[in-house]
């Protein structure tokens, strides 16, 4: 499809979509959201773009291929197991680091976040792969 309205809209919606996706990812541990939802949301943005442009244009603009996303995603997932192994804990046990910004605000970073990030990227890659293959197949 080649719709001008959608094309212009997609430019402005991009930030919105990606922001949503990343927020969903980051808040997922405490509120609704998470890697799956975030990844699907991010993919949804690109799907939206394919409706506006042709999928070939999107593919060229994407710079990173879906395969790479999938690989990086899985790598992140696997890397998230590393800290627990290195610290001698059982495999896949969460390791957490917390920073206190002020007396009330504490930021906690842990391997589950990395894990979720991996899921995010992988799910996005998978969906993109689905999308591109199905749309370019003749």
């Amino acid at each position: 499809m080649n719709s001008v309205i959608l094309q212009i809209a997609s430019k402005y919606l991009r930030i919105l979509f990606l922001m949503f996706a990343i927020i969903a990812l980051l808040r997922g541990h405490n509120q609704p959201g998470g890697g799956f939802i975030g990844g699907l949301l991010a993919a949804l943005y690109i799907v939206f773009n394919t409706l506006a442009f042709t999928s070939k244009q999107i593919k060229d603009r994407l710079k990173v291929s879906p395969e790479a996303y999938m690989g990086v995603g899985l790598l992140c997932v696997l890397l998230s197991f590393l800290p627990s192994v290195l610290s001698g804990a059982p495999l896949m046990q969460g390791v957490w680091v917390s920073y206190s910004i002020s007396d009330f605000e504490v930021i906690k970073l842990g391997t589950p976040l990395l894990f979720d990030l991996g899921v995010f990227i992988a799910v996005m890659g998978v969906t993109l792969m689905f999308l591109f293959t199905l749309s370019t197949h003749k």
């Binding site: 969903a24 997922g28 541990h29 405490n30 509120q31 609704p32 959201g33 998470g34 890697g35 799956f36 939802i37 699907l40 949301l41 993919a43 949804l44 799907v47 394919t50 409706l51 879906p66 395969e67 999938m70 995603g73 899985l74 997932v77 696997l78 896949m92 969460g94 957490w96 906690k108 842990g110 589950p112 894990f115 979720d116 991996g118 899921v119 992988a122 799910v123 890659g125 998978v126 969906t127 792969m129 689905f130 999308l131 293959t133 199905l134 749309s135 197949h137 003749k138």
Partner: protein, 767 residues
């Protein structure tokens, strides 16, 4: 011992590295290695004679009772010596014999591997391990029979032998596992310790039958003997090595190996003896009318194997002793005869014995060797065969069961053997020489070396038989677990046995005189045999096999018909029945949920879902179907949302959206038409579907009332924040508690994506 096996293995693979120039000498080199190993094992003989056993054990999977266990005891000693010694001779022989063929490296590779697996077989004291070697010998036999693989008959024969021995091997495996389950181990020593336990077990008879299936197929007993005849398609060194001296004796070896464990019972005697007796008689009887020299020797081999089986069946100390002596006797003369057969084939280019007329007239050395081997087969003094035959008569004479019948059958067999030997001998010597053999005789002179050595042994051991008792005694003491003393003599003095021998010889000569030159009689005899044994085992085997294939193809076509919907119908109907059965046997539950339509908006959502799914099911338009399907999905996500599953609802909505987009992407290029089934089909499918839906609804209703206490959820909820620092329990489960599952799931997704990618990007192939 493991080192020896490894040496063989390395040597076998190293064969391929040998440069062409020196490859002429490889068989000689291998022969020397065999001789070396022979010497090595011989050096253990004094230890073995003193009642020691040498074992080595490498633990592999001790918990499953799978270890690499090797034991050199009296029994394996006998076999090892035979294998390496005959192996040595066969390689020497093959050096000349095989030189004119292509692919000899492959041949020696197989043959060497066969030596190794045969050694492994006899040295194993773990039965699972032994079984592996057992199967290896079958496979290598297959490869060696089909060595001339451009010959269809050879391929057929090879397949036949593999099929028959493989079938027996499977039976054997079952037997081994059964015994293993009784004893709780696969180790030989444990089995011997618990022999009484096995013999008194209720499963003893099936075990015995299964073991015997393995033995009889391997050792070509009636009615499995036909594969050995086909196996004569193999190059002659193979026939000499595998199909007369070693591999076919593996069954006999197994009988001996299992004798202390299973042997000596009434069932053992009653089953084994008749089978062996029939085999020995039929083998000898059919040998006499054959005209193909290798077939003659194959039949006499079958007969000899029958004799060995009978002797193990009789189960007296004397018979076992006779069996071991005859093992050597037969190995010596039969290997020699096969090698000689190969020699004649090389000389004349034919396997038909009638065309050989007088080829040994001017070949004195050949004549002597042939005569010695044949006379040993006939059991005429002073050959080693005579001693063997005397012992056999004696054993049968004193057999506790059916002794007179066995004796008569034995005499008949030997009469036939004598006649066959004389027939072959005279056909080779008398008659006009039809070929000018001067050059060929010279060329193949070296082929006489190995049979020559064996002939010397046959004669020498006939004169000084006691040399062998040192080797046989330890083997006997394995079987009777005590001291065994054997005195082998050529001259036993005048007694019944000698009388019987003389009678045999006379009758044999008479039979020979009757049949020699009397072509009519032979022809008539052949015709009678054809009619008498109208079951051609070979043909009925192939027929049985092809009809088996036909039946299975038919069945496969019946089950694998290629219609997805019928596969699915089968699966669904069957699982409906299973579920129904399960619901029936757990009936008697009550529904403690009241029916209500509150809250009404969810009822409304359910209504919409119902409506849209009905549209989706019955619509004839693709796009419409998909839209309706999406409405269903969104409706379900509303249900999730209402019932406290926020994450689920979000995921469902996004997935549904993505799915619709992808469908549209594909559907743009797909046809709009939908194949319309007939009305009857629709009704049938509708009934199946409704039944399944009803059953699943009942299941869901039941699931509602199942309450599991304490739920794992309690643990998850309690520890979600304290241990995993997350407030969203669902997400914490996904990324922390059950992270491995999620990893698996993401991997599956990635694989699916790659699958889609490869599926749609491979080059289009059309039929």
């Amino acid at each position: 011992m493991i080192l020896v096996l490894i040496l063989y293995l390395l040597l076998a693979f190293a064969l391929f590295l040998i440069p062409k120039k020196v490859s002429k000498y490889t068989p000689v080199f291998i022969a020397l290695v065999q001789l070396l190993v022979f010497g090595l094992f011989l050096s253990f003989l004094p230890d073995i004679q003193n009642g020691k056993t040498i074992s080595s054990l490498v633990e592999w999977m001790p918990r499953l009772g799978l270890n690499l266990e090797f034991t050199l005891d009296g029994l394996s000693m006998v076999s090892v010596l035979l294998i390496t010694f005959i192996g040595f001779l066969v390689f020497i022989y093959a050096n000349t014999y095989m030189s004119s063929y292509q692919g000899t490296t492959r041949f020696y590779f197989y043959l060497l591997l066969f030596s190794a697996s045969m050694l492994g077989l006899v040295l194993s004291s773990n039965f699972i391990q032994m079984f592996i070697f057992w199967e290896l010998t079958s496979i290598l036999s297959f490869l060696l029979i089909s060595f001339f693989n451009e010959n269809e008959q050879a391929r057929k024969a090879a397949f036949q032998s593999l099929f028959v021995t493989g079938l027996g091997g499977l039976c054997l495996l079952v037997a081994i596992i059964l015994i293993g389950s009784i004893v709780g181990s696969y180790s030989l020593t444990d089995w011997i310790d618990k022999a009484e336990l096995i013999k008194n077990d209720g499963k003893y008879l099936p075990i015995l039958l299964l073991v015997l299936a393995g033995v009889f197929t391997k050792s070509a007993q009636f009615p499995f003997h036909f594969w050995l005849l086909g196996a004569m398609q193999a190059p002659t060194p193979v026939s000499a090595y595998l199909h007369s001296a070693t591999m076919v004796k593996a069954g006999i070896f197994l009988l001996a190996r299992l004798y202390p464990i299973l042997g000596g019972t009434q069932e053992w005697i009653n089953i084994i003896t008749p089978v062996g007796a029939i085999t020995m008689l039929i083998g000898a009887y059919l040998a006499i009318t054959q005209i193909d020299i290798k077939q003659i020797f194959a039949y006499t081999t079958i007969s000899a194997l029958g004799i060995l089986v009978v002797l193990f069946g009789i189960s007296t100390e004397l018979s076992i002793k006779a069996a071991f002596v005859f093992l050597f006797v037969h190995a010596f003369y039969k290997a020699s005869l096969f090698m000689l057969a190969g020699y004649f084939v090389k000389l004349t280019g034919s396997r038909i014995i009638n065309s050989y007329g007088g080829i040994l007239r001017k070949n004195l050395l050949g004549l002597i060797i042939v005569a010695v081997a044949l006379l040993s087969m006939a059991g005429i003094p002073p050959m080693f065969g005579f001693i063997g035959k005397e012992l056999i008569y004696e054993a049968k004479f004193e057999a506790p069961w059916l002794s007179s019948l066995l004796l008569i059958l034995g005499i008949l067999t030997n009469v036939l053997m004598v006649a066959v030997s004389l027939l072959v001998l005279f056909k080779l010597y008398l008659g006009e020489a039809k070929f000018d053999l001067g050059v060929a005789t010279k060329k193949y002179k070296l082929l006489l070396v190995s049979p020559g050595i064996l002939a010397v042994l046959s004669l020498g051991l006939g004169l000084f038989p006691d040399t062998l008792s040192g080797i046989i005694e330890p083997a006997l003491s394995y079987i009777y677990s005590g001291e065994a003393v054997i005195k082998l003599k050529l001259w036993h003095g005048f007694n019944t046995i000698l009388l019987l021998s003389a009678l045999t010889m006379l009758l044999g000569i008479f039979l020979f005189a009757l049949t020699y030159k009397n072509k009519r009689l032979i022809k008539g005899w052949q015709r009678m045999n054809v009619r008498l044994f109208s079951i051609n085992f070979n043909r009925s085997f192939s027929k049985g096999l092809s009809s088996f294939i036909k039946i299975s193809a038919k069945n496969t076509h019946f089950i694998q018909h290629g219609y997805i919907r019928y596969y699915l119908t089968t699966i669904i109907v069957f699982s409906s029945l299973l579920l129904l059965f399960q619901l029936y046997i757990t009936r008697g539950w009550e529904i403690n949920t009241n029916f209500s339509l509150q809250p009404y908006y969810i009822s409304g959502v359910v209504c919409i879902i119902t409506f849209s799914s009905l549209i989706s099911v019955f619509s004839k338009d693709g796009l419409f179907t998909i839209t309706a399907m999406a409405v269903t999905g969104y409706g379900i996500s509303l249900i999730y949302l209402y019932y406290s599953a926020v994450d689920l609802a979000i995921t469902q909505i996004i997935v549904e959206t993505l799915m619709v987009v992808m469908f549209v992407l594909v559907l743009r290029k797909l046809p709009r038409f939908i194949v319309v089934s007939s009305r009857a089909t629709k009704i049938r499918d509708g009934i199946i579907a409704l039944t399944f839906g009803l059953i699943m609804a009942m299941l869901a209703l039941k699931a509602l009332n199942v309450d599991i206490h304490p739920s794992i959820a309690d643990f998850l909820v309690e520890n979600s924040y304290t241990k995993a620092h997350g407030k969203n329990v669902v997400n914490v489960i996904l990324v922390d508690f059950r992270a491995l599952d999620t990893l698996g799931e993401v991997t599956v997704l990635v694989i699916a994506a790659l699958g889609v990618f490869t599926l749609l990007n491979v080059k289009k192939v059309r039929k």
